[in-house]
Amino acid sequence: MGLLDRLKQLRRSVPDDDIGSRTQALVVHGNEFGFDPFGMSRAHLASVVTVARFVYRYYFRAQTFGIENLPSVGRVVIVANHSGQLPFDALVIGSACFLEPPQPRLVRAMVEFFVPTVPFASYLFARWGQITGTPENCRRLLEADEAVLVFPEGARGISKPFSKRYQLAEFGTGFMRLATEARAPILPIAVIGAEEQAPAINLKVIAKLMGIPSLPIVPYPPFIAAVPLPVKYRLHVGELMHFDGDPDDDDEVLAEKVKSVRHRIQSMIHMGLAGRKHIFW
């Protein structure tokens, strides 16, 4: 099958998402100016979703399996593998939760601390519902019954080299503490595709000399990962995991629970990899 036929097939298979009515259907705790306490507004969101939908439907041709596991209301901590040098996995997960289920949900990802210092990103991320990643913010969002997205691999995950693809890095335990404290279930998601979107090698020696944690280089211009390859994304949404117990438990007790989430995601990744035919289609 030629590339042109594939594109025609893609055009036919993409549903007409009604972004306007989906945005209206979102649950937003807004005030009379239309802003929620974290600075999110429907008007700003609708415009960015138009772009996100294009990236989700056409650029990455994303497929989502098991979206029925996403609860339509109530607090939930979404946990996924993190990779690909650029955080497009967050964008794809956010788009999936907005576009795929009958009742759209706004995913609140925890963004890095430097984001509020960058012009435009500083407030645009907030308008789109993305929040500076402090534990207090996460706690408050869960109390307000929001869906919070965390990547427990953190920077170790996103900067992982191509040779380490689909091997989960160490998980932090903070998300488990917050989830048990808020009695929020955990929704595991395995992201297939992102790990190949920017095949990088890590120049450890130079990174050390420059005093930065990692220096990933991609083998095509401009050699830093600026634009991801148009890989095909597949999201596998697992069943909700419920944990109870004392949030102030010792790290060892929490680590056991974290391990079970990590194993679940790792086995979902294995199954997803076994089931796919090709990286790009």
Binding site: N31, E32, F33, F35, P37, F38, G39, F113, F114, P116, T117, V118, P119, F120, A121, S122, Y123, A126, I131, T132, T134, E136, N137, R140
Partner: protein
């Protein structure tokens, strides 16, 4: 009749609070201020003395409460003079209160003591560290007064000490946020539009009244009717911001300040760049504080005539 000593009574906030306490609640008002108070009602005593002087001490003899309206803020005064006035003055006030067993001490601090910072959680609680002075030494006085009174709260346990940390106070007052919102084309930083909290000056007066009730002690954030982006506030007032890229905003403002074109110290730029918002749940649970003015009313209050 109960007697209350109010420092900084000649300012607009001082007058508004004094009026409310005197006319509606029947307190006897004793003012302490270096400035004169034109148009002062006859039944308000004003002592134009330095807080650090002996004369100030006698004012506290029969007082039932002290309301300290916080930091003396004059961007043009010498830093050493302000520091001495603020820190020594507050220390002395607390000494007088302890010496004369004044049962209630209320400090009007500010939510600015936490400092606008990129890594701030969206809502700071009263336990958050007061980091405003880290980036800007000019905020030091504000933070130190708050610290002095917090220490006093735990040290002088026989007295009831209350610290109120209101968000930006808006109304017919001459403070930085109200002055800023009255500029026809206020400068804004290109690419930054932080969420801000405002509170109406009359709501602050109400919070002070609630803090004066017997049995209340502690530290409380005072939050107004909600959170809005700076741009929405300017739009509500029909103002258009003058966009300035942030790398040149600081030197520009410093120049403008030096040549007397602006009354805003450079330190205050970060308030239109980063989030500095607080959690008001403690005040609502323990003081019963609820803002009476809505968001639009509060924003529009800058247009009220003084």
């Amino acid at each position: 009749m109960k007697t209350i000593v109010i420092t900084g009574i000649s300012g607009r906030l001082g007058r508004i609070v004094a009026r409310r306490l005197h006319h509606e609640l029947g307190w006897k008002i004793v003012g302490l201020d270096r400035r004169p108070m034109p148009g002062r009602p006859k039944d308000i005593d004003l002592h134009q003395v330095d807080l650090r002087s002996k004369k100030a001490r006698d004012v506290f003899r029969d007082a039932d409460a002290l309301l300290h309206l916080g930091v003396m803020h004059d961007p043009r005064a010498r830093a050493q003079e302000l520091y001495s006035w603020n820190i020594t003055g507050t220390t002395k006030l607390l000494e007088y209160c302890q010496a004369h067993a004044v049962p209630k001490v209320v400090l009007l601090s500010s939510a600015n003591v936490y400092g606008p910072r990129p890594d701030n959680p969206q809502f700071l609680t009263e336990d958050a560290p007061l980091l405003a002075a880290q980036r800007f030494p000019a905020m030091r006085d504000l933070v130190e007064i708050d610290h002095l009174v917090s220490t006093f709260l735990w040290k002088a346990r026989e007295l009831e000490t209350v610290i109120l940390r209101p968000v930006h106070i808006i109304g017919p007052v001459h403070n930085a946020p109200s002055n800023y919102l009255r500029i026809p084309r206020p400068p804004v930083l290109l690419g930054f539009d932080p969420m801000v909290q405002l509170v109406h000056v009359l709501d602050v007066a109400e919070a002070i009244v609630q803090a004066l009730a017997p049995g209340r002690r502690g530290i409380y954030n005072i939050v107004g009717p909600g959170e809005v982006p700076l741009s929405a506030i300017l739009a509500e007032l029909g103002r258009e911001g003058r966009w300035i890229p942030h790398p040149i905003a600081k030197p520009l403002l410093r120049l403008a300040f030096t040549f007397g074109l602006s009354s805003f110290p450079v330190a205050e730029l970060d308030f239109i760049r980063y989030v500095c918002m607080v959690d008001g749940r403690r005040a609502s649970a323990e003081l019963g504080f609820r803002p009476r003015f809505g968001l639009r009313e509060t924003i529009r209050a800058v247009e009220e005539a003084a």
